[in-house]
């Protein structure tokens, strides 16, 4: 079995100094995609969720958000929006490598 297979199969049981599969927020270049659940537009905060974990997120950098929006979050701050456009980009990016569209 390759490391790639192992990584996909053992996502929840791998060694990590900061717990869990996703990379540590301490490393400055890692962010997580989260979904907006509730919005406090006055304070520019949103309650967001990813993988069952909830977190209060600063939304100042991405403008007004609404429940259901996808945000790329790092260290409690939304850095960019992610959504249907991102999906289209993902497919077209794979297309540029001469590959078939993702199988979903």
């Amino acid at each position: 079995m390759t490391r790639w297979d192992t990584a996909i199969r053992a996502h929840s049981a791998e060694p990590s100094a900061c717990g869990g599969d996703e990379s540590c927020i301490t490393c400055g270049d890692v962010a997580v995609e989260m979904t907006v659940l509730r919005v406090d537009s006055e304070r520019r905060l949103a309650l967001c969720e990813a993988g069952g974990e909830k977190e209060t997120v600063e939304t100042e950098l991405v403008g007004p958000v609404h429940p259901g929006d996808g945000l790329l979050v790092h260290a409690g701050t939304a850095l960019q929006r992610v959504g249907p456009i991102a999906r289209r980009d993902a497919e077209s990016l794979i297309g540029t490598a001469g590959l078939d569209a993702p199988r979903r």
Binding site: T2, R3, W4, C24, T26, L61, G70, H74, I85, A97
Partner: protein, 371 residues
């Protein structure tokens, strides 16, 4: 997660690996640096190095913020943490980075009130709940993390929280890349650019690499197919004699970055004239301090810190690893005296550190090869 599974398909990975193989020139050795620790982590985790031709070498770069923190800054943080009444907050990995007389975790064991937080906003929340105590946030990270600290400082001021302070260790990505490109130790053919730093700064700051040094850069995502495709794009540029900044991670990285984030960072921070990087020495204008407008929130002005430069342990070769001059397993103490459980060097602490990533994933494959 949405939009992620597509980028983990091993069959597509094999197709991309085939494309990479068709692009390499036999007899030529390619050295490609992945700048960011997140990419190093993906490479070892998914075994991307196993899918590449032998003459394509991946060199690990300096893009792991806890790995580049020098011991003297850890000592300064511990000095503040030991002040009476202080609650000292930092990200989890930072607690385990060794200073000259132990880590923040050791200081906690000795009685200092050191608490792990997941975001600066968590630290601000602690400050609001403990109005009688000073709460200091030990800020680290590249431009990905700096906006979060900046927004929290602005919020502390707007909400009138008088007991929140920041010890700022934010660093910037371009100066160390320039230092590496100027280094005679290393000859690189191209760069896998840092994806999430680029969500903030955009792709434009990396244009100096093709313009001044004639090397291609591809801003990359972090899933295994992202990294493989970025390598393919770099090799395609080299094969075609092109040299430019390309953006593989368009799904989240706009070429111009996040202008609002850059605006807020410019308000809250200013460039330090010099900052010490582990293994790279002092680099001009490579780190951020709080601006005069936020000086009253600066923990380094509120508390006296030693500010002493401390040499790295002699046995530790993190500097060479961070510069990509040696591989993790070539360090004398790798996996013996230095392990993730008992790290001597910073690269063994964070999962994004090249040594920890290799220790956790890569060594198994190498052990098989040796056998």
């Amino acid at each position: 997660m949405r939009f992620v599974d597509e980028f983990r398909d091993p069959e597509l990975g094999k197709v991309l690996a085939g494309e990479i193989l068709s692009l390499v020139e036999p007899g030529r050795h390619y050295k490609v640096m992945e700048v960011c620790g997140g990419h190093t982590h993906s490479i070892y985790k998914y075994g991307i190095d196993d899918l590449l031709p032998e003459n394509v070498e991946l060199v690990h770069g300096p893009g792991c913020p806890v790995c580049v923190i020098p011991m003297g800054r850890v000592d300064d943080g511990i000095a503040i943490a030991k002040q009476p009444g202080v609650i000292f907050t930092c990200f989890g990995d930072m607690m385990r980075i060794p200073g000259s007389h132990g880590s923040l975790l050791d200081a906690k064991a000795e009685g200092a009130d050191v608490r792990m937080v997941y975001s600066p906003l968590d630290a601000l929340r602690i400050a609001k709940r403990n109005p009688e105590r000073d709460v200091v946030f030990f800020a680290i990270g590249f431009e990905t993390t700096a906006p979060s600290t900046a927004l929290t400082l602005k919020r502390a001021r707007a909400e009138g929280v008088p007991n929140f302070f920041c010890m700022c260790n934010h660093v910037t990505i371009v100066p160390p890349l320039r230092a590496l490109l100027d280094s005679p130790d290393l000859r690189l053919d191209g760069f896998i650019g840092p994806g999430h730093v680029s969500t903030v700064v955009g792709a434009r700051p990396f244009e100096f690499i093709p313009a001044d040094y004639g090397r291609p850069v591809v801003i990359s995502g972090f899933e295994p197919l992202d990294v493989l495709q970025s390598i393919q794009m770099i090799l395609a540029q080299l094969a075609a004699g092109r040299c430019e900044v390309e953006n593989q991670y368009k799904r989240v990285v706009p070429y111009e970055g996040n202008l609002r984030a850059l605006e807020i960072m410019a308000e809250v921070f200013e460039l330090r004239p010099h900052f010490e990087w582990r293994g790279l020495g002092f680099i001009s204008q490579s780190a951020l301090a709080l601006s005069e407008a936020y000086a009253d929130l600066d923990a380094e002005r509120r508390y006296e810190v030693p500010g002493v430069r401390v040499a790295d342990p002699k046995a530790c070769q993190c500097g060479e690893v961070l510069k990509g001059v040696i591989k993790p397993w070539e360090c004398k103490v790798f996996g013996t005296a230095c392990t993730p459980e008992r790290p001597i060097g910073t690269c063994m602490v964070s999962p994004e550190g090249a040594c920890a990533a290799y220790y956790n994933y890569g060594r198994y494959a190498r052990e098989r090869e040796v056998v």
